[in-house]
Symmetry: C2
Subunit: 337 residues, 2 copies
DNA sequence: TTGTAAGCGTTATCAC
DNA sequence: GTGATAACGCTTACAA
């Protein structure tokens, strides 16, 4: 079923059918209705590819996600879901590309094959091949996260450095003198993953400022790693009385290690950090933490991208989220040890 | 940059360029190299839409996911990830459509707009508009989950009924006489969601067969709901000594409610069910459960779809997964109460 | 071994 | 108010 067939059945030309579909020029009520009837009964819908070819735009967004082999974190998933939802609201489809590096065939297809009008990139590294690549092609894109020098690009990000700094200050205010940062995985940090580095920077700054003893450890993105990590931490550094973390997936394991050590939160040990809200709320006791607003961020990313596509290379815009730290019940005065 | 431009720069015709790209007819080594050089230096890649238009296929799969507004469960996410990954391995892109009903614009675009060569559907209901719709259009599709009468369609599914039956038998063998089923949310079940109904059927069958007292409750897909659900269960039916569940997201909450009631697992209370492996392993104590093989299922779904696209409407194939119940540590002899 | 040209299903420019 | 017709960028008979 194509537009020509509709035209034939309605006894008009193809252009007329096209115009009733787009409304881009007036069509007499009589023929309009006749054509519409034929369209309805044959539930015809224009071929999206032909339209894309002619119009030069695909009404599709590309979303580059980390290779699925490494299980996505809840936060990543939250971004994916909110991007897809926001795109659907403005009638845009989303093409997924699971690609780590720049050489990925999937990434290539999407970017240079002109399958999309713009791209949203996740899991940005401080130095990121994909953004340099995208910059060269001129394809509009926005990143969730940002590179070391994001000038000239559109992005949304969480202010991990500032947030972790505030977490540490909060702990210091409560009298903690020995604090630790539970970061993301060592590989991620080694690869120059932005949040990992910025969290570390924020942590170091606050520790220095408040003259604390600070320790930072990397930790895999899962419960088992969190458990091992806190076990070791407790064994090797018994003076530590509080941790700040950016690793939500490790939280259940951290909890278990604390239990096993007979430590009760927050009486004996405080925990805080920056994680997705439901992780904070599901923690026992509920976690004092900055809640990453994934939904808003995904929505905003789509909005920035749409603007950027429409405007064609105008001023890059960005938005740094610094959500308040919700005081819940996982932090308390430092124990007298 | 298009194929004509490449041809011009290399001093050949467009068809020759096309043929070095596709390899569908021999090209002399000399011109082949010359053309390839031009292609490389201008990093040209054919316009995917033009190609799709001409070839009549898009090399793209559609994946219909539940509307993202309701947070996806880990299991759903696991399917998405494995489908995307499996598709990427065979150079297929994945277009996401967050649609619940049949009327969704996004669903319409993808299905009737011929944006994809085939569709994978998730969250299948016993009576599902989308599959009847898809059946009519003739677009190849496979479902993850199955309708009440799935004959003639391709699908992969988990044998919830059989698995829950086996869970209950296991509990009965341990001496439990009062058991409960913690199902998915009431809305889902009311909407005719397959796994909910089949789990219930399997539960009822086993309870009857073993002459137990069985109770089934619906429970929202999150920790808070799980907590509330088990609290009520314990209060209203103190005789219950074991539950089987298909609601992994509720697990952490169920755990908390048990803790709060001072019940230790498995001494005082047994839990089993069918969930994704990492949920089972992260449970304390590790959950005796059938592990849903999401990765294999997603991969298999893609494979079935690819076959179905290639074969054009041949025999529908399907695969019902019935993974073994991994004996871990959450079930034990019924307590003498 | 290579080139010419038709056509995939649209949209949009020009005529009438 | 409506109809031819030329693109959009590609693939693939058919010719040479």
């Amino acid at each position: 079923m194509n537009i020509g067939e509709i035209a034939r059945r309605a006894g008009v030309s193809r252009s007329t059918v096209s115009y009733v579909l787009s409304g881009k020029r007036p069509v007499s009520e009589a023929t309009r209705r006749r054509i519409q009837a034929v369209i309805d009964e044959s539930d015809y819908r224009p071929n999206a590819n032909a339209r894309a070819l002619k119009e030069g735009r695909t009404r599709t967004l590309g979303l580059v996600i980390p290779p699925a082999s490494q299980r996505l974190t809840d936060m990543q998933l939250g971004f994916v879901a909110s991007v897809v939802e926001a795109a659907a609201r403005v009638d845009l489809d989303v093409l997924l590309s699971p690609s780590g590096g720049d050489h990925d065939r999937s990434f290539e297809r999407i970017v240079t094959g002109r399958r999309v009008d713009g791209v949203i990139l996740m899991e940005i590294r401080l130095e990121d091949d994909r953004v340099t690549r995208l910059r060269r092609t001129g394809l509009p894109f926005v990143t969730i996260g940002r590179t070391a020098r994001p000038g000239g690009t559109s992005w949304v990000d969480v202010d991990y450095a500032g947030l972790i700094t505030r977490c540490v200050h909060h702990l210091a205010d409560l009298g903690h003198r020995n604090v630790a940062l539970v970061n993301r995985s060592a590989e991620l940090v080694a690869a120059g993953y932005g949040p990992g580095h910025r969290a570390l920077a924020g942590f170091a700054a606050a520790v220095r400022e408040r003259d604390l003893t600070g320790l930072d450890v990397c930790c895999g993105d899962d419960a088992a790693a969190g458990e091992a990590c806190v076990e070791e931490l407790l064994a090797a550094h018994p003076a530590v009385t509080a941790v700040a973390t950016v690793n939500e997936a490790a939280l259940p394991g951290m909890r278990r290690a604390l239990d096993a050590a007979g430590l009760v939160v927050p009486r004996d040990f405080s925990i805080t950090g920056v994680v997705a809200r439901h992780w904070a709320e599901d923690f026992r006791p509920p976690l004092t933490a900055a809640d990453v607003p994934m939904l808003e961020m995904g929505t905003e990313a789509v909005s920035l991208l749409v603007q950027s596509i429409a405007a064609g290379e105008t001023a890059a815009r960005h938005r740094l989220y610094s959500p308040p730290i919700s005081l819940r019940a996982s932090t308390g005065p430092a124990p007298a040890r």
